[in-house]
Every structure is written in structure tokens, then in C-alpha cells.
Amino acid sequence: METISLRRMAKNQRGTITAVRVAGDLGRRIRDMGLVTGTVITVQGRAPLNDPVALRIRGNTLTLRNNEADFIEVEVEN
């Protein structure tokens, strides 16, 4: 087990969110969309220029940019 930032996750890698370190509008948006501590996510893929990233979360797809993903810490299995 190891904690990394969401940006560094590889395609098809799975992990559990351990922290969302951002307040204000962006933080609220991220959390409203369901990215909260304890949520299991899988990286579904990245856009052609490597950004944004598409996540599978609870059977649905969410996308966000790398600089937004930086605020999200994920625990992944090695």
C-alpha cells in the first residue's frame, strides 16, 4: 500500500481516496461530484494530450484536469 497523488496513477490502476486537500469553490466542486475520502476510483484513461483524466467512480465516469487531480491523494496497491 502506498499513497500517491491522483495525477501519478496509471491507466486502469485502482485506489481509494484518502484526502482531498483543497478548500473553496474547487474543493467543494470536487466533493459534490462524489470524490470524497473512502471512495474507490479507477483511472479509465487520459485525453490525447495526457490531460484531463477520466475516472470510473461508482460505475460512472468523471473527468478532471491534472492540476485538479493534484489535490487528491489516493491509496493504491503496488
Binding site: 469553490d25 470524497v36 484513461g45 485525453a47 460505475g59
Partner: protein, 724 residues
């Protein structure tokens, strides 16, 4: 009797508008991407002898509003106190959707939950225990399929009962969400303060206010301070204490704690056997499999290009015949008028002004319809959201947003669109600055009206490399638009990029009805504009190019010339007819030069000589401001060709190629100017409406004309130095 209000609230893309249309028979816009509805819409609903007003609200993920249209939803719920709120919940995305439901429950408004998309859920092998969910939430929960109308009766029966007060609103004791010891403690203190002083009484429940203050909801805090600044400060102090404590002990924010607990509450409910998955929960759904290909890093962009290109292909190849048909009809009407009316101003106005102007625009209706139909398919299937996803990075480099892409494509990004719907498509953009930047640059695209201009001038001057030039000008328009956007974002529209946290909805089969509504709705707007604005401008332009006419002495010169030819040749002699035609053309030219428009054109030469344009071109450019289609018909008139059909401009091309005022260099400079100068009048009106002020519309005219002038002058002058 005062009608009861029923509000439809829920997450974006949950199916609110679909339900609204089903209930009221309205034909509001439905699309498979989040954020289609941006303003509230009302409709009448009747069920037996029960009458109500149904209000469709923009989607919102949370009651702490994030973007402008979310504020609309929240304000409506808080201020207008609907008799019942029908919370539309996407059954296939239950956990996320219930997040808003939790907040609605805390708001203690009369609530009925409509569990929509039950068909999708069961396709995915999910079974939902509706009765137990209802018991845990303490409100009625009714399964529906809004698209087919299944379950609507039961839903509306429950909603009516709730609206008439025969069912009790949510029981606060039942749904009190615990936010952890620290927050709960603070909430207790704050709630007591709020209740004792009657802060915002009757508007919001006390505990809800306390929660929002701890969540740092700016809009609500402002409202609180307006009611009682003293208490507001006191409450914020309490909130700061918990915030500091949480940061110290748990290294986290209060709003994070609250969100975590809300999701915890939902998970707690769902865990108790509410959802059963028939298949493996992590199985890829059809939609995910499609995405593996369509948004693949390598295949994705290629497929996107192919899709966009085929739209272009389809619209142009399938619309050639109908467009010719419509034009034939106008030609026939024109012929009738020509034959049956005596010569005079009325006839001239009808033929050149009304039929020529409006007919030219209406001729494009079949093309526009087909294009909108193709775009509707992209929109309803969910592909559009993927295009935004793939293009976001590129657009962000230029200060735009992934969601700007569609506006560009609608406006003619692949050549052959229209900036009017393009400008309207910018509504999906959340940030006002990014939206303005998109709004101001989409008119640079090659809309359907610019395509014939390109075809004409490229055909006349660069005939050997037509495809190459066509492609080159398309690329050029993208470059100019993106660079202009970047410049705007660095100057008048400076600001941070906005987040791109967006959901990609599952692919869905578009419904026939939905496609028809989209296509017709947009086409009708286009037709309406042709019948109003374009009609008025065509008549105005006709008048400006006709009056004040020639002085009697000058007129006499032409009459003499005709008489002279008549004496030389018999009636019906070919050479004689040709010469007579030539005299008519010359007379038209003289009338034009002496007309108001002609004088303006000559006056403009003082500036436009820099770009190489002479007065007749200037008139066409003036006309093109009304509608770009007018450029060709005006050039036709101005270069003594009489009536010129915009579609069949070959002979006009020959004329221009032979005219001493034109050269390949002038054509190049003129093309650049025509592609980039002021958006047409209809677009400008739309920009004013969408931007909310005429200042931006004027700005748009001035800055794009400036860019066009600088570019064309640069090309012309450098070209001359290089000896072209």
C-alpha cells in the same frame, strides 16, 4: 384559485427536462450532457381536476451553488417555496444523486423523490429496493422512466398528495445527519443562537443555516449578514473555531468533513441492501466499452476528425438538391413578379431586395437543417461530452474551455456552420470570462455563408490549387480565432481558467422525437431571422444601392445610346441585343456609383486602398455586414452583372478575374478581410443578447474589423513589395 407550484430539482442530466416535457407537453431542449437547461421554465400540468404549475430548474449537484445557473435553482427552492419539490434522481448513479437529496431533506421542504432511469439501472443489473429507500429517507420514492412515461401516474399522485399537504414533509428527526462530534457540537450551539434570534425565520431551517455557514457558503453568509450583522459575526466565529480545531487535529477542512459525512450517511443507507447487483459491480458497461475506442488516446482524435468531417460531407452532399430546389422556387417567384409587375421601384424592390435577399438566406434552410440534425445526434448520444474531454487541453492553452469546442464547431469549425447557434451554444460554459472569449471568437469560423465567397474567389484566382487554399483558409480561421481568444484572455478578459470537473454521461440512443425537436427548434430560429432582420436589411440595402438615381441629363445619355443602337440593328438581332445589354449594365453601374451606397463606397476608398479594395468591393463589404451571403449578390450587382445567383457565381468570377481592380493579391487580401471582419448583423444581435450588453456587441464589431484590416493590409502591402 391560486395554482400550486411543483418544482423539478435534481442533478444535471438526471432527466428533469424529459419529465417536464412529459408532464406539460412542452418541447424544451433535452440533451445528453450535463447543463443543458440554464434557466427555469414553467408549464401547466393537469391531472383530473388538479391543476398545477410545473417548474423545470437547471441541474445542480449541491445546494451550495457553484455556477450561475445553479444559483437559479437554489434561489427558486429557497424563495418561492414550491408546494412540492420533485427530486429527480438518476437510479444508475444513485449515491452521487442522493447527495443533493440529503441537502433537500435538511431544507425540510415537501419532497418526493422520482427514481428516474430505472431502465438503465436494470440494464446494468441493478435492483433497487424502493420501499426501504423510502423508509430510510422518510419521503415517498417512486420509480419512473421519464423517457417512456412509465410510473408517472404514481409519481404525480404522490406529488399531488404532498402538495396538498396530505402527506407530511420530511421528518427531521429521521434524517438528521451526524457530521461528527466536533461539527455536531458547533451546530448545536449555532442552531440555538439562530433559533433564539429568529435569524432568516421562515426562510430556512435553523440547522440548515448553521451547516451552510460551516460549509462556508458565501451567498448564504451574505444573506445572514444582511439580516443581522452582529449575529453573523458571532456565528462565523463559531465556525472559525471548529475549522481551526479540525485543521489542527485532523488536518482537514470543515466542508470536507461535512461532505464526507453526507456520503457516509448515503453509504450507510445503501449498504442495508437497497441496491443489489446482479453482475460484478466492476464490470464494464457497454458505454465504457465504446469509450475504450472513441476516447482512446490514439484512435480517439482520428475518429473525432472523421466524425466531424463526415458531418460536413453529409450536410453538403445531401443538401445540394434541396438547396437548389428552394432556390428554384424563389427564382420562380421572382420570375412571376418580374413578368407580372410593371417596371418601377416596387418591382425592383421585390425582386432585388425581398426575393434576392431573403430568398438567398432561406435557400440555405435545407443545409442548416441537415447540419443541426447531425449535431443533434452528437448531442443526444453523449459524444459531445467526449469531444469536450479530448479537446480541453488544446483549448485551455488558448484561454478557452473544453466546452468551447462545440460552439466553434457549430459556428463552422469544419466550414459550413452558422455563428448564431454557435453563439448560443456558449451557454454551457460556466465561467463568464471563458464564455465571453468563446462568444467573441466563434464568428471567425467559416460559416455556411462564407463558403460561397471562398468558392468564388478561390475559383477565380487560385483555380489550380482549390482544395489546398480551401483547407488553408479553414486552418487560418482556427489560428486567428484561437490567437484572438488568447489575446482577449490576456487583456480585457483576464482571469483564471475554471475547473473541468465534468461527468461523461453514458452513451444513449437518441430518441427520434428529441432529434426532431432540436433540429426544428434551431431551424425555425434561422427562418424567423430571415423573415425579420434579413428582410428589413435587404430592403434597406436595396434602397441605398438604388437611390437617388441618375440626374435627368445623365439618364438622357443612356437613352440616346439605346436609340442609336436601335437604329443600327433590327429588333432581335444578336449583336444588337448584346450591345443593349451592355448599355443596361453600364447604366446600372452609373446608378450604383451615384447611389448612397456607392458614395459611401467611394468615401471608404480613402482607407481601404491600403488593403487594395476599390469602391465596388467596399459596397459589398458593407452589405456583408447584414449577412455574409449578401457579399456575393452585391459584388454581382456592383460589377455590372445584374442579378447574380450566389450559388452559381462562375461568371462573376470571370468578371472579377478580368477586372483591372482585381488581382490574385487583391483577392487574397479581400478573402482575409471577408472571413474575419465584423460578424453579420444577426450574430451581433445574438452576441448582445448572450453577453447581456450592447457594449460587447460593439466591441466585437470593432475588434474583429480591426484584426481583419490589419491582416489584409499586411498581406496586401507585403505582397506588393514582394512584387505579386
Amino acid at each position: 384559485m391560486n395554482k400550486l407550484t411543483m418544482a423539478l430539482a435534481g442533478n444535471p442530466n438526471a432527466g428533469k427536462t424529459t419529465l417536464f416535457n412529459a408532464l406539460t407537453g412542452a418541447r424544451q431542449h433535452v440533451g445528453n450532457y450535463p447543463g443543458v437547461t440554464v434557466e427555469r421554465k414553467e408549464g401547466a400540468y393537469q391531472r383530473g381536476d388538479f391543476n398545477a404549475v410545473v417548474v423545470d430548474l437547471p441541474g445542480t449537484y449541491s445546494l451550495t451553488a457553484y455556477s450561475e445557473e445553479e444559483v437559479v435553482a437554489r434561489d427558486f427552492l429557497a424563495n418561492e417555496k414550491p408546494a412540492v419539490v420533485i427530486n429527480i434522481v438518476d437510479a444508475a448513479n444513485l449515491e452521487r444523486n442522493l447527495y443533493l437529496t440529503c441537502q433537500l431533506l435538511e431544507l425540510k421542504i415537501p419532497l418526493v423523490v422520482a427514481l428516474n432511469m430505472m431502465d438503465v439501472a436494470s440494464d446494468r443489473g441493478m435492483e433497487i429496493d424502493v420501499e426501504n429507500l423510502s423508509a430510510f429517507l422518510g419521503v415517498p420514492v417512486l420509480p419512473i422512466v421519464a423517457r417512456s412515461g412509465k410510473g408517472l401516474d404514481e409519481l404525480m399522485a404522490a406529488a399531488q398528495e404532498m402538495a396538498e399537504g396530505r402527506l407530511s414533509p420530511p421528518d427531521p428527526a429521521k434524517v438528521r445527519i451526524s457530521y461528527g462530534d466536533d461539527v455536531d457540537q458547533a451546530l448545536l450551539t449555532m442552531t440555538r443562537l439562530i433559533r433564539d434570534q429568529g435569524l432568516l425565520k421562515g426562510k430556512y431551517p435553523s440547522r440548515w443555516i448553521a451547516v451552510k455557514i460551516i460549509e462556508n457558503d458565501e451567498a448564504l453568509i451574505k444573506e445572514v449578514n444582511e439580516d443581522s450583522l452582529e449575529l453573523g459575526i458571532r456565528l462565523l466565529q463559531e465556525a472559525d473555531i471548529v475549522a481551526a480545531h479540525l485543521m489542527k487535529t485532523f488536518d482537514t477542512y470543515p466542508e470536507a468533513v461535512i461532505a464526507d459525512h453526507r456520503y457516509g450517511f448515503i453509504k450507510g443507507i445503501l449498504k442495508r441492501g437497497i441496491i443489489t447487483h446482479r453482475y460484478d459491480e466492476n464490470r464494464l458497461y457497454t458505454s465504457d466499452k465504446i469509450d475504450r475506442v472513441l476516447t482512446n488516446r490514439f484512435a480517439g482524435p482520428l475518429i473525432m476528425l472523421a466524425v466531424l468531417y463526415s458531418i460536413y460531407q453529409i450536410t453538403f452532399s445531401f443538401s445540394t438538391l434541396p438547396v437548389a430546389g428552394v432556390e428554384a422556387v424563389f427564382g420562380w417567384i421572382g420570375g412571376l413578379v418580374e413578368a407580372n409587375l410593371g417596371d418601377g421601384p416596387l418591382k425592383s424592390m421585390l425582386v432585388s431586395g425581398v426575393i434576392g435577399g431573403v430568398g438567398g438566406v432561406l435557400g440555405f434552410v435545407p443545409l442548416i437543417m441537415l447540419m443541426f440534425f447531425c449535431i443533434a445526434i452528437l448531442e443526444d448520444s453523449g459524444y459531445l461530452a467526449r469531444v469536450a474531454f479530448m479537446m480541453d487541453r488544446v483549448f485551455r492553452m488558448f484561454g478557452l474551455h473544453g466546452s468551447s469546442v462545440m460552439a466553434f464547431i457549430v459556428s463552422g469549425g469544419i466550414a459550413g456552420g452558422c455563428a448564431v447557434p454557435g453563439v448560443m451554444a456558449t451557454r454551457t460554459l460556466r465561467s463568464p470570462k471563458e464564455r465571453m472569449a468563446t462568444l467573441l471568437t466563434v464568428p471567425f469560423m467559416n460559416c455556411g455563408a462564407k463558403v460561397p465567397i471562398l468558392a468564388l474567389l478561390i475559383g477565380a484566382f487560385f483555380a489550380q490549387h482549390q482544395a489546398f487554399y480551401m483547407f488553408g483558409f479553414t486552418i487560418l480561421s482556427w489560428i486567428v480565432a484561437l490567437v484572438a481568444a488568447k489575446l482577449l484572455r490576456l487583456t480585457v478578459l483576464r482571469g483564471e481558467p475554471t475547473p473541468f470537473v465534468m461527468e461523461l454521461p453514458p452513451y444513449r440512443f437518441p430518441t427520434f422525437n428529441g432529434l426532431m425537436i432540436h433540429t426544428w427548434e434551431r431551424t425555425w430560429q434561422y427562418i424567423k431571422k430571415a423573415g425579420t432582420v434579413i428582410l428589413a436589411i435587404s430592403i434597406l440595402l436595396w434602397a441605398m444601392m438604388t437611390y437617388p438615381g441618375l440626374s435627368p441629363e445623365k439618364e438622357a445619355v443612356f437613352v440616346q445610346e439605346r436609340d442609336r443602337i436601335a437604329t443600327l440593328y433590327e429588333v432581335g438581332n444578336e449583336t444588337g441585343d448584346k450591345l443593349l445589354q451592355e448599355v443596361d449594365n453600364q447604366q446600372e453601374g452609373a446608378v450604383l456609383r451615384n447611389s448612397f451606397a456607392g458614395r459611401i463606397g467611394v468615401g471608404m476608398e480613402k482607407v481601404t486602398w491600403l488593403s487594395g479594395f476599390e469602391w465596388r468591393t467596399n459596397i459589398a463589404l458593407l452589405g456583408g455586414f447584414a449577412a455574409k451571403e449578401v457579399i456575393i449578390s452585391t459584388l454581382g450587382t456592383a460589377y455590372s452583372m445584374g442579378e447574380t445567383d450566389p450559388e452559381d457565381a462562375g461568371s462573376l468570377g470571370d468578371r472579377l478575374a478580368a477586372d483591372s481592380a482585381w488581382s490574385p493579391l487583391v483577392a487574397m487580401s479581400a478573402l482575409i478581410f471577408m472571413l474575419f471582419y465584423a460578424p453579420c448583423f444577426v450574430t451581433v444581435v445574438c452576441i448582445a443578447r448572450e453577453a447581456g450588453s450592447w457594449n460587447w456587441a460593439f466591441f466585437s464589431i470593432i475588434y474583429s474589423t480591426t484584426i481583419a484590416f490589419i491582416l489584409s493590409t499586411g498581406v496586401y502591402q507585403v505582397g506588393r513589395i514582394l512584387g505579386f
